[in-house]
Amino acid sequence: MKVIVNNQMLRLFSGARVRDAVSHFAEQYGDRMPESPCTVTDEDGHPVSANGRLSENDKIIIKPQKS
């Protein structure tokens, strides 16, 4: 299934969770990963947890955690 992470389309297995999308993004676009610690939100800015299940065309954003 297709999931969009930081505006990059990723192809993931169906049933993937947020944590899988983050791993995939880190592997493919390591230079674009924000510095740790990070937080993940949906496109409306709501935090999503690592075990949240993703659906086709979901968009998530990885960004640095606010201090």
């Binding site: 299934m1 192809r11 993931l12 297995f13 169906s14 049933g15 993937a16 969770r17 947020v18 944590r19 899988d20 999308a21 791993s23 995939h24 880190a26 592997e27 493919q28 949906d42 409306d44 709501h46 935090p47 999503v48 947890s49 075990n51 949240g52 299940r53 993703l54 659906s55 086709e56 065309n57 979901d58």
Partner: protein, 479 residues
């Protein structure tokens, strides 16, 4: 007498004021607080704080209703391996006073027989409008429920997400005999009831994006309380005049949706989330009960026997991969060495907690259909990534040929009978979700989760085998 009458009047006024100092208790106004949790995944730890918080809200609002948006099970070995699987969660939810839970995809995880027993023990109602239990073992849940407080009727419609194959995110075997229908279409069958109730609420396990589509389609909802995507909505969203909210996961937060009714009409809505970890008060009796559950023997339960010590990555990796192939009928399976977190399982009884120490990450098993060339690309990537053998194989073996500079030259893969793989054949291959998501390899098939953790897989396999022996198992060679 006049001073006495004045004093008496003042005293009566004080008494009347004290009785009606809860919000909304005047001018035919009622304020109802709907406390909601979602995706608790068998987390018990903050139940005592939730109970205390609910009690406090009962002093503040005219009425308080506590509900769940699904996925109450799976995710805490203490509950998942309790002798009556899942029972501690039902017990705690009964004691804290839940009134409704929509069915989530993980409610099916323990199997239908256990799900049926747990549903029977619940003092709260399970709802789901887009499932037909048919001849399955579980009882047919009601599509909706109505809670009435002081002549105010609140309608709650239950909806469950479906994946691309028209089933919820669980192993297909767990939902045999159950038919599911599109949740948005199912919602349409009830939208006409909106006018009969003071509030019309979706209690959904759809995920936030689908909740948005539901709101755009049906303005009839006054609110949608969601789950499944584990979204923490510190502020609600309002779409098409429908308020959307969701409260994170793992019982770290509780959502509070406050509905104000004036002469029976809904005149105000507000939503927030409360961090239970930061809430000071806690129910002491429930703390004691939770401690009792956390200290139970579930993790020390023996699931089988190791005929001899299982030592090192090759032998332990063989256990991982054999479990995956055997339990899911896969041709091959691969486990990365980095995911094997202990050095040895000693000879003798194997306990649940040993498997969780061996495999603590909560990775799920992912199935691919792959050609031999694609399997080769996976092994090549893993070898180059680690400059060494990384993946242990199940269902067969492989040899990596390297040159004098230690550069990979060739990969020879054989099945269990020692035969080379056919270039035109497709094979079913299992990978854990970490390898599936972070290793770069060729695969036309996008893959799909089997919705079981690799740890659970190992536990099921050892139980099935009763005795396991991996002495000398070594399925990978370098030439």
């Amino acid at each position: 007498m006049r001073p006495f009458k004045t004093l008496l009047f003042a005293l009566v006024a004080i008494v009347l004021f004290s009785c009606s100092n809860r919000d909304g208790d005047h001018d035919n106004t009622a304020r109802i607080a709907i406390l909601h949790t979602n995706d608790m995944h068998a987390s018990l730890k903050e139940m005592p704080r939730l109970a205390a918080y609910k009690k406090e809200m009962e002093n503040k609002y005219d009425h308080v209703i506590l509900i769940s948006a699904g996925d109450i099970f799976s995710g805490n070995p203490v509950v998942d391996f309790y002798k009556e699987k899942g029972y501690p969660m039902i017990d705690m939810m009964n004691r804290v006073g839940y009134e409704i839970s929509t069915i989530g995809n993980h409610e099916f995880d323990y199997g239908q027989d256990i799900m049926r027993q747990r549903m029977k023990e619940a003092n709260f109602k399970f709802i789901c409008a887009n499932m037909d239990a048919g001849d399955a073992m579980i009882p047919q849940p009601a599509p909706y429920t109505v809670i009435e407080k002081e002549n105010i009727k609140l309608f709650f419609l239950g909806l469950l997400e479906l994946g691309n194959e028209g089933l919820p995110s669980t192993h297909p075997d767990k939902v045999k005999g159950i038919r599911f229908s599109d949740p948005l279409k199912a919602a349409g069958e009830y939208a006409h009831l909106e006018g009969f109730y003071n509030a019309f609420i979706g209690l959904t396990h759809l995920g936030y994006e689908t909740d948005k589509r539901l709101a755009k389609t049906y303005h009839q909802f006054d609110a949608i309380i969601g789950g499944h995507s584990h979204t923490l909505m510190e502020e609600p969203e309002v779409i098409n005049e429908v308020l959307l909210t969701q409260a994170g996961d793992d019982l770290e937060f509780v959502g509070k949706l406050v509905l104000t009714f004036t002469k029976g009409e809904l005149t105000d809505r507000s939503a927030s989330v409360i961090n239970l970890k930061e809430h000071d008060s806690s129910d002491r009796e429930l703390e004691e009960l939770v401690r009792g559950y956390q200290n139970n023997e579930a993790l020390s339960r023996v699931i089988g026997t190791a005929a001899g010590p299982i030592t090192g990555k090759e032998e332990l990796g063989a256990l991982f991969t054999d479990a995956q192939c055997a339990m899911h009928g896969l041709d091959f399976s691969f486990q990365n060495r980095g995911g094997i977190r202990i050095h040895k399982i000693p000879k003798g009884p194997i306990k649940v907690k040993t498997v969780y120490a061996l495999d603590p990450f909560g990775n799920e098993l992912i199935r691919y259909n792959m050609s031999s060339a694609e399997i080769r690309s996976l092994i090549r990537y893993s070898f180059n990534r680690h400059d060494n053998i990384d993946l242990i194989m199940g269902g067969g073996s492989y040899t990596v040929r390297i040159n004098k500079e230690d550069k990979l030259q060739d990969i020879i893969i054989r099945d269990q009978s020692g035969n080379a793989l056919h270039p035109d054949s497709t094979y079913s291959v299992g990978l854990n979700s970490y390898v599936a998501s972070s290793y770069q390899f060729d695969h036309k098939d996008e893959g799909k989760s089997l919705y079981v953790t690799t740890a659970q897989n190992i536990i099921d396999f050892i139980r099935q085998q009763d005795t396991v022996d991996y002495s000398g198992a070594n399925r990978v060679a370098v030439e």
